[in-house]
Every structure is written in C-alpha cells, then in structure tokens.
Amino acid sequence: MTESLHNILVAIVLAPLIGSILAGLFAGPLGRKGAHTVTIVGVAIACLLSMYVFKRIAIDEIGVFNQTIYTWLKSDGISFEVGFLVDNLTAMMMVVVTFVSLMVHVYTIGYMSHDEENWPEGSGAGVNSYQRFFSYISLFTFSMLMLVMANNFMQLFFGWEAVGLVSYLLIGFWSVRETAVFANLKAFLVNRVGDFGFILGIAGVLMYFNTLDYASVFAVAEQHKDLTMNIWGDEQWSVMTVICILLFIGAMGKSAQVPLHVWLPDSMEGPTPISALIHAATMVTAGIYMVARMSPLYELSETALTFVMIIGALTAFFMGLLGLIQNDIKRVVAYSTLSQLGYMTVALGVSAYAAGVFHLMTHAFFKALLFLGAGSVIIAMHHDQDMRNMGGLRKYMPWTWGTSLVGSLALIGAPGFAGYYSKDSIIMAVGASHLPYADLVYVMVLAGVFITALYSFRMYFLVFHGEPRMDEHTKEHLHECPRVVTWPLIALAVPSVAAGAVFVSSMPFGDFFDGAIKVAHEHDTLAHVGEHFHGWFSMFLHGFVALPTWLAAAGVGTAYYLYMKRPDIPAMIERKLSLVHWVLDNKYGFDAFNQGVIAAASRGLGRFLWKVSDLLLIDGLVVNGSAKSVGLLAAVTRHLQSGYLYHYAFVMIVGLLALFGIFILQ
C-alpha cells in the first residue's frame, strides 16, 4: 500500500518539475502552445494525484506516510535526505497548492497572451518571456510541494529557499521596469532577514536534537522542555523558546508579518497570476504551515506562543487599516492578504493551529479568486490598476463581477461563505485563550472584521458600481475576458463558498488534524470553543446573531454610504484627519525607516568593509597576494619542464636518489 503511494508521491513532485524544465530549456522549439501545454499537463497530473492521495490518506485513513525517498549524503551522523511525510495536514496543503496552481496556470494563458507588449522594442530579455513565465510557475509548484511534503528540516529549508527564489524571479519578471527590480530586491533582502532567523532555528534544532528528521525531533521534544541555554551574559533562556522564536522569524519573513511585511505590497509589481498564486494563496502561507507543522515544539513554549499571537494581531489590525487608503486595486488585495495572514498567525499563537490552517485553506481559494478577479479587471482596463479610473464594470464583466462578489463576501466572513467558518473559529478561539494580552488581541481581531469589510467593499463599489470613470477609448473596448480567464474564476468561486461548510466540522472542530498537530491540553482553545459547536448549519444560523457578523455588515454599510451615497465624505475625512492619513499613507514609516536607517547604515558599513577590509586587506593582501605568489610559483616551476630529454631523465634519477636519501639513510 505504502509502496504504491511512494511512486505516486514521487510523480506528484516530479511532474511540475519536468514541465518546468521542458518549458524553460526548450522554450524555442516548444513555442508558446507547447510550453503552456507541458506545464499545465504536469500540474494537472500533480493535482489529480494529490486529490487521490488526499482521498487515501484523509478519507480512507490508510495511515501516515513517512518515508525517506533518497539519501544524498551522511556526514557526521546527520543524514541529508529527501523524504516525504504525508498526513492529513500535508495532503490538504498538496491539494490546495496544486489546485490553485492549476487554476493560475490556465488563467495565465489569458493574462500573458499579450506579454510582448510589456517589453520594450527589441529587448533581449523579452525573448520567450511567455514560456519562461510558465516554467517559473511550474518550478514554484515543485518547490512548494517539496516544502509541504518534507519530512525533515533540510528539505523544508530547501523548499523554503526555492519558493523564495522563484518569488524573487517572478516579482522582477518584467526586469526592464525599475520598480519591479527594486521590489524583487526588497523582497529578497527582507526574506534574507527572516531566513537568517530560520536557519538559526534549524541549527538550534540540530544542536539540541542531533537530527533533522521531524518525527525524531517531535518524539523527544517533550524531554527538552526545561532545557535552558546561555545566549549572552548570565541570562538563561529556554531552548524551546529560542528555537521557536527563531523559526518564527523565518515565518515572519515568508508570511509577511510585522515588521518584515514590507516586501509583500511591493511584490505586486509582478504579474497578477503570481500575486494570486505565490503572494496570496500558497507561498506566503508557508510560514503558517511551518508553525502548524512544528506545533509539538511551539506547545512547549508559552513565551513563543504569546510572541506569535501579538505579532499576528499587530499585522491583522494595522495592515488592514492600510488597505483603506490604497487606490491601486492590487494593493488593496495585498494589504488584505497581510491582514488575513495576521489572523492565521493569531490562530497559531492561541494554539488554534487547526483553525489557522483551516483559514489558510479557505483564504487560498477566495484570495486567489479575488486576485484573479482583479487581474481580469486589469486586463479589461488595459493594465490600468487605479480604482479611481474604474467604476460601473458590473454590466461589462458579469462573470468577473459575480465571482468577485463571492470572493469579497467570503473574505469579510458573511455567514455561509467559507471565510465565515474559518475566521469565526479563529475569533472564538482567541476569546477562549488564557495567554497574556489575549483580551487586547480579541478586541483587535474584532475591530479587524469591521475594517476588512470596509476596505473590501470600498474596492468592490469603486470597481463594479457607480459611474464609469475611465476614458472613452478604454470604455469602448471594455468586455468580459476570454474563457481561460473566467473559468478559473468560477472554479475558485465554488470552494470559496463551499469549503467552509464542508470542512468546518472536521478541520477546526474535529479530529482531522489529530496526529499532525499537537496541542497541549491547557492550551486547547478550540476544544473549548468546540463544546458549543453543533454542526455547520447551526453555526451558520448562529452567524446572524454573532457580533463579528454585525461588525462586517456595519463595514459594508459604511462602505456603501461613503463611496456610493456620499463620495464627498472620504475626501473630507482625509482633510480633517490629515495626520492619520499621512501616517497611513507612509505605511507607518516602515519603508522610510528601512531605507533611511537600516539600508543606509548597511550600505555605509558595506562601503567601509568594501573599501577598507575587502579591497585593501582581503583582495589586496590575502587574495591577490596569494594569487600573485601562486602565479609566480607556477611561472617558475613550469620552467622545470624544459623540453630536454636529458633533463627529464636527470629529474627521474634525482628523484630516485632523493627517495633513497630520505628512506634508507635516515
């Protein structure tokens, strides 16, 4: 049984990789059609097989698959291997990743069909860009699968870095645009900070557990609970707290939590399909997934859990506020992603891992849907992304309108939609938590619901309703997008509605994640909430009397009033509260601080090190010095090779005599 799964799992990982290699290396011969065919077939295979694996593992319950596939090397007792750990959590992630990826692949055919217009005339970088894009997103699918299917930290790190690399490549996909290059450099550098913490965390695991294998680490984690370590001075730190916080710093980079969130809004410079796939649905949730996977470690440190919760709450609340003042349609969705990632992180912090992962899943569907909907609008608007130039698109693009409405309702947590079940579970779990500051966090996540509804429906009304504000030329060409664009929207709208009701009784409030996620009894907020849970329908009905629903409704109402009825009020608020607006407009000053202080200081330090220690000492003395002396030595010794036969014979005789001298006469 496991043997047959073994081959299937290998095929799941390799199918997108092979597609990517073919599309990337043979871009010319394959052409556009060939490239998108091979990659879509590869991802479709991965998606179907993932669904089969999900059925076997989660529904037929054949047991957890944990096996090493390939050992690369063993060094000093540590083995570096590729292995798969597939339990319900992994199986769910595999389906989400491959399904969203497949939808994005199909959508991309429409979105990138005129990509040659995005490159300047005669630009060499624009050659085969269409095929390159498909190659990259397939490579991303492969990397993400490696990440979620890993059974050891080494492979986790590989996947982690690989998705980071592809994200970097795709943000800067239009490499002739300066803003894109700036954005991908920023994403790269900020993730470096996170990954630094992450690899230190892995090093900590290796140091104290002497293995990189998940199962072996988790099996003995309990025994390391009271271990302390000395970082500096005489202060003793709990090893578990240090490891968990370091790993979480990695998650903060990848999942864009305050203060390492600054790269995500800028990442919108990349093409929209990847904003949907990488920067909303999958890669940015890698941090959430990782923490959920490491739940046996996090459960041992309440300090780390509190830290996680607070960071999450800050992100959820403050990033939502920023969504209110954005005019770029993609940026609104980007800030909304940040805020929702904050919700997931809060869930992790209050030990409601299952709710966090549940929200991860529903969010993947409705946020991919919203992004692709935004992309569809952008296509129709000839790549104008400013909402102030839109309006009234409803009658031109009925499918995009309908699916976007579904996505928005799911996002704000309207009862019945997927987002309602997942977000409400999180909010209730926070209410049940006993961690310090949990009360404050509860207020913040509740306020977040109002804000979410406000910015979501501000966007919705500005784009789809009201008077059309675009110029005549654009207006004449407005029409619904081709079917490769609308079909993925519809396919994503289905789980955005249904996934919540279907899975709510098994995922957050059932035993779906038992075995994969471990929660200490005293932290088990979900079990506490679950006592009042009586099936999806009663939860749906309860929604109409619950506070979050009314907050969401108030948000929608406010948006309607402000942007449909009295569009003069927002401008007035902006004037009256100019200080607040200024703060929000500058995104709390994170960017200015990063660039003015951190980047400037690093550059100054770098310049100093470059001029003095690098050029003068290392390059000048050590590197060039040794290179010169080696070169000199080489030039001298090559003259030994004189070309004369008698010299050669002489050297042989001398060599012989020298050996005699050394070994006989000693």
């Binding site: 070169g631 010794t637 090779q641 050669y648 050297v651 050996l659």
Partner: protein
C-alpha cells in the same frame, strides 16, 4: 604440469580478446581505406565481447589460474569492465579525428587492442612476472601509438621522450623486482608478503627493491617526480592517443600499484607509506600549481591529471581497505572525467584545427550552449565541487587519509584543490564570459555528441547517487 581446461577459465576474456585481435589483424590486411570501418566495428565488437565475458565470469571469490600467476577477483573484474568501457568510448570519440589526420589505419585499432590486452593482464597479475609482461605489452603499444603520425614533429618528439624515459622506468622496475626476488625468494604475491614479513625491518635489499619498483609504478601513474613525460607526451601526441593514454592505462597503473604493494607487499605498508606520502604531496602540489600557468588545454589537463594522481595516492597510502576502495573509486572517477575533458577537445577539433588552446574555448556558450554546459559540469567535477562526481571521490580519499590520522596531509590536499579550482573555473569563465574567436560551426558526428553528453551527464548522475559506485568499489576491495 596440470593443465586442465578449468584453470584457463579466469583468463577467458583475455584469450578471447587475443583471438579477436588476431582476427582483426588478418582481416585488416584485406581492407582498403573505404572499407576500414569493418576494422572499427570488429574492434568494438571484440571489446564488447570481452566486456560480456568479464561480466559473465564476475567472480565472487578470487580465482587463480596458471599456477597462481593469474588471478580473477572482484577488483580485477571491476577494473577490467571500466577499462574496456573506457577503450570503447575512446574508439568512438576518436574515429572522426583520426580519419581527418590520416591515422585511420588498422595499426591504430590493433595497437589499442594490444594495449588493452596488456591492461587486462596487468589487472589480473598475481606474480611479478605477469605484472611485467602486462606492463610491457601495454607500454610498447602506447609508444607506437604516440609515434603513429611519423611526419609530425611534435608527435615524434613526444614518442622519443616517452620511449626513452619509459625504458628507464621499466629497467628500474625490473631491477626492483629482481631485488625483491632476491630478498624474498619468490615472485608470487601470495607468498611474497609472508616471506617479506620474516625479514628484519629496514632490510636494505628490500627497501631498495621497494623504491625501485615504486619508481616504475609512479612513472606509469605520472606521479611527481616521475611525471616529466606526462605534459610533453599528452601535448605532443595526437589528441585521440592522448585521450587513450589518459584514461584506461591509469586504471592499469592503479591495478599495478594495488597488486604489487597491497597484494604482494601489504605487510610492508610502513615501509612504502612514507614514499607515497612524498609523491602524493608533490603530485597534487606541483600538478595544481603548474596547471595554472598553462595556455594549452592538453597540457593543462596533463598537469591536472598529475594532481589527480596525487589524490588517488592518498587512499592507497592510508593502507586501509576503505582507503583502497576510495582510491579505486577515485581512479574510475578520474577516467570518466578525463574521457569527457579530452573528448571535448576532439569534439571541437576539425581537419587542420586541433582546438587544444585554452583560447579555443572562448565563448563556447555562444557557439554551443549545450556543450558549454557539459564542459562546465566536467570542470566543476574535476575541481571537486559538490554535487558532482569528483567531489565524492575527493571526499572519499581525504576521509581515508583523515581516518589514519594524516590530517595535515588531508589539509594540504584541500588547500591545493582550492588552488586547482582556479584553472578549472578559468575555463568556465572563458566559455561563458569571453567572446568567441571564431564562429565556425562545431562539426562532429552524432555518435560523438551523444556519447560525450552521456559521459558528462554521468558525472552529474553518479554525483547525485554517490553511494552506488562507491559501494561497488568497497565490495570489490573487501
């Protein structure tokens, strides 16, 4: 005399090769220039048949023949398989090259086959006499191969040097053998160790014998200070012949080292270890340093080969079975990489153009991205960059040296391999960052292209699954 047929069985492949060789010799007499491909195909078939026979008779336990003067054990069989494989690859690689240079004659193939026979004998030698017989058969064929282009000044000069120095080395080896025979009273490796162990330590006759024999072996390997022939012969000989000299005969030389000093004189490990340490240190030191100053690709690869021999010796001198296995692994690895490196020169060469300058590689990426990629992988592998094959080989021999406490030697090896990385990386720089000097298309036959690609990809494939080959090597030594 007991001459039953069963005692011939271990030598079956050699006898088959000898028979086929005689057949080729006769058939070739009746062939013209236009039908010469029959010789080519017959030679390949002889090698393939021998390969099959070796595989078929793969021994689980050592089998002796000819009254103990011939042995067929797993190490011999493994070495023979790779020798035959390497020679087949050489024949395919060199076909176009020798056609363009008026060397497409029966002699080339016959000499290759004779040399191969010599190598097989060497791999199976179990007395000093058999060693000498195999060695001379191999060497004499190679002298003639280098001299095959009589009208070429470089080639004649190289052949002359090779012959004179080879004769000297051979004489020293023979003298060493006679001394060892004098001291132990036997030529048989099975009895030699026992007899040697009875001698007083630091018996001068024995030490003299060991040193003289080591000089012979070191010459064949091309270890410093008995390496002087290597650059000149590699450079002067036609590239097809260089390809041959640098590949399979290195395995034969390794076999000779193992047979004489491990099978025969393993007990005297203490006495010969020090000499090998000196040679290893000098080899990877000098080889890597002087390679930097070369402008000719063949010479550079010659010096690189010298340095590889230094690494190979690291395993043998450690005197443990892990070390021997590591060296065997290294020898095979080196042959795979060397075939690829010289094969690339053959690929780029055409009538009247040797493509053996470093500058000829400039901008290869613009002319043929695929083969630039192949060459890059070969160079990374030679430099010992993970995950390519060469890295694992270096790791194995260095671990062997560390395992017996020779940490300083291991550090020296690592330092010099860093120095060596310079000239391998320079090739990559030339291929990718410089502009090509000519834009002549690369003309080469499909079989060469395919085999060379497979050769280079093997460097990656074996690097990703390093334990497979290493496990076979360990099992062969065990």
């Amino acid at each position: 005399m007991d001459l039953t047929l069963t005692s011939f069985a271990p030598a079956m492949p050699e006898m088959f090769l000898l028979g086929m060789l005689s057949l080729v010799l006769v058939v070739d007499l009746f062939l013209t220039e236009r039908t010469r491909h029959i010789t080519y195909i017959l030679s390949l078939l002889s090698l393939a048949g021998t390969f099959w026979l070796v595989l078929d008779g793969y021994p689980r336990l050592p089998e002796l023949a000819f009254h103990g003067s011939y042995i067929n054990d797993p190490m011999a069989a493994l070495l023979k398989l790779f020798m035959l494989l390497a020679v087949m690859v050489v024949l395919v690689y060199s076909k176009e090259y020798i056609k363009q240079r008026d060397m497409y004659k029966g002699e080339f193939y016959l000499l290759v086959l004779f040399a191969t026979l010599g190598m097989l004998v060497l791999a199976s030698a179990h007395t000093l006499l058999t060693v000498y017989m195999g060695l001379e058969l191999l060497s004499l064929s190679m002298y003639a191969m280098v001299a095959l282009r009589r009208d070429n000044v470089d080639a004649s000069e190289a052949a002359m040097k090779y012959f004179v120095l080879g004769a000297m080395a051979s004489a020293m080896l023979l003298y060493g053998m006679s001394l060892v025979y004098g001291a132990t009273g036997t030529l048989d490796f099975a009895l030699m160790g026992e007899a040697a162990a009875k001698l007083p330590t630091n018996d001068v006759t024995m030490l003299f014998g060991i040193i003289f024999m080591l000089v012979g072996v070191a010459f064949k390997l091309g270890a410093v200070p008995f390496h002087m022939w290597v650059p000149d012969v590699y450079h002067g000989a036609p590239t097809a012949v260089t390809l041959f000299i640098s590949s399979a005969p290195k395995l034969a030389a390794f076999a000779m080292l193992m047979r004489i000093f491990v099978d025969g004189l393993g007990e005297l490990h203490q006495q010969w270890q020090g000499i090998l340490i000196v040679m290893a240190l000098l080899s990877f030191g000098l080889g890597n340093l002087v390679a930097i100053a070369q402008t000719n690709l063949k010479r550079m690869l010659a010096y690189s080969g010298i340095s590889h021999i230094g690494f190979l010796l690291l395993g043998v001198l450690s005197g443990t079975s892990e070390g021997y296995a590591a060296s065997l692994y290294y020898a095979i690895t080196y042959v795979v990489m060397s075939l690829g490196g010289f094969g690339m020169i053959l690929l780029l060469s055409r009538a009247g153009f040797e493509a053996d300058k470093l500058d000829d590689l400039k901008g290869l990426n613009d002319r043929s991205p695929w083969f630039a990629l192949m060459m890059m992988m070969l160079m990374f592998s030679m430099a010992g960059v993970p995950p390519f094959l060469g890295f694992w080989a270096k790791l194995a021999v260095i671990q062997a040296a560390v395992g017996v406490g020779l940490v300083w030697l291991a550090i020296a090896a690592v330092v010099f391999s860093v120095v060596g990385a310079f000239y391998y990386l320079r090739i990559i720089k030339l291929m990718y960052f410089d502009k090509p000097e000519s834009d002549a298309p690369i003309e080469s036959s499909a079989d060469l292209r395919i085999l060379l690609s497979a050769n280079s990809l093997a460097v990656v494939g074996l690097g990703l699954f390093p334990s497979s080959l290493l496990a076979i090597c360990s099992a062969s030594i065990g």
